[in-house]
Symmetry: C2
Subunit: 141 residues, 2 copies
DNA sequence: CTCTTAATGAAAAGGTTTTTCAGTAAAGAT
DNA sequence: ATCTTTACTGAAAAACCTTTTCATTAAGAG
């Protein structure tokens, strides 16, 4: 049983073949995957998987903080395996390969300054970086 | 003619009553407005305005950097008047009132560190802060 | 193995955003 | 002021992504 499956079981959820298939795809993803893409890859393992179950499993994994949802410019959402703690995604605009990073320390100063100037109390943030990964830089240059 | 209308005219676009109505609503918005909300407010000025034209005008204003699109957790998009330069939105999770801020200096150090560690070249970023505005803090406390 | 009920898949519904297309009106030319 | 061109508009339909509904299936406790 994988670590993710243990977390599911610990939360009182059943370990089913459809969930195993979705998990297998997501655990090793290195770019944000759309639900439709997850479906197509997972169906090679579990043929009769439906898109609805992909969405339900993604919601479940999000609640357990096992995956992170990233916003795309076109308005739909990709999903990435989430590392522990509050991290952010750096996404290649060409191949969509993503890495995570922590921005906590640098953001802390910024957030304090903004709180002082605006009077707002900040309790959450969304940060995504966009650029070119090393691989795609080579191809371009 | 307002500043926004001059920008439109300068870009070769026609100044029409529907566009004026959308602009009038957005110029003074202090919270991200949904296309549907913009429609309802703008229809008090231009009764036969359609939702399609709201979307088309929002795309136009986005291209001219007169409005900024902010991502909401539910997946749809709100629109805010954009100040000059690269700014970010701080949004109240209760009343949705928003203020803008510049995070350029603080993010610069973070971005350089992430570039050094990952090899990515970062050329854009998305940063939104969420919290409570002073007004809603009072109401809560 | 049996039983309970969580989980599934198909179909339908719900929402937002885009496309299509015939009609309208803005703005430059006359 | 009027004409002419064509960008713009609104309604309807289409195209998405995502959620809900509901009858059926199967996980896992006893």
């Amino acid at each position: 049983m994988t670590e993710w499956e243990q977390r599911l079981a610990g939360a009182g959820c059943r370990i089913t073949a459809p969930r195993r298939a979705v998990i297998a795809v997501l655990m090793n993803a290195d770019a944000p995957l759309l639900p439709q893409e997850i479906l197509e890859q997972a169906q090679t393992v579990h043929r009769k998987l439906g898109l609805v179950t992909v969405y339900r499993t993604l919601n479940l994994l999000s609640e357990l903080s096992l995956v992170r949802r990233v916003h795309r410019e076109d308005g739909c959402h990709g999903y990435l395996p989430a590392s522990a703690g509050h991290r952010h995604a750096l996404i290649c605009r060409n191949c969509h390969r993503a890495v995570e990073f922590t921005g906590h320390n640098d953001l802390h100063a910024l957030i304090e300054r903004v709180e002082a100037r605006t009077g707002y109390r900040v309790d959450d943030h969304l940060l995504q970086l966009l650029g070119l990964c090393p691989h795609c830089q080579e191809r371009e240059g």
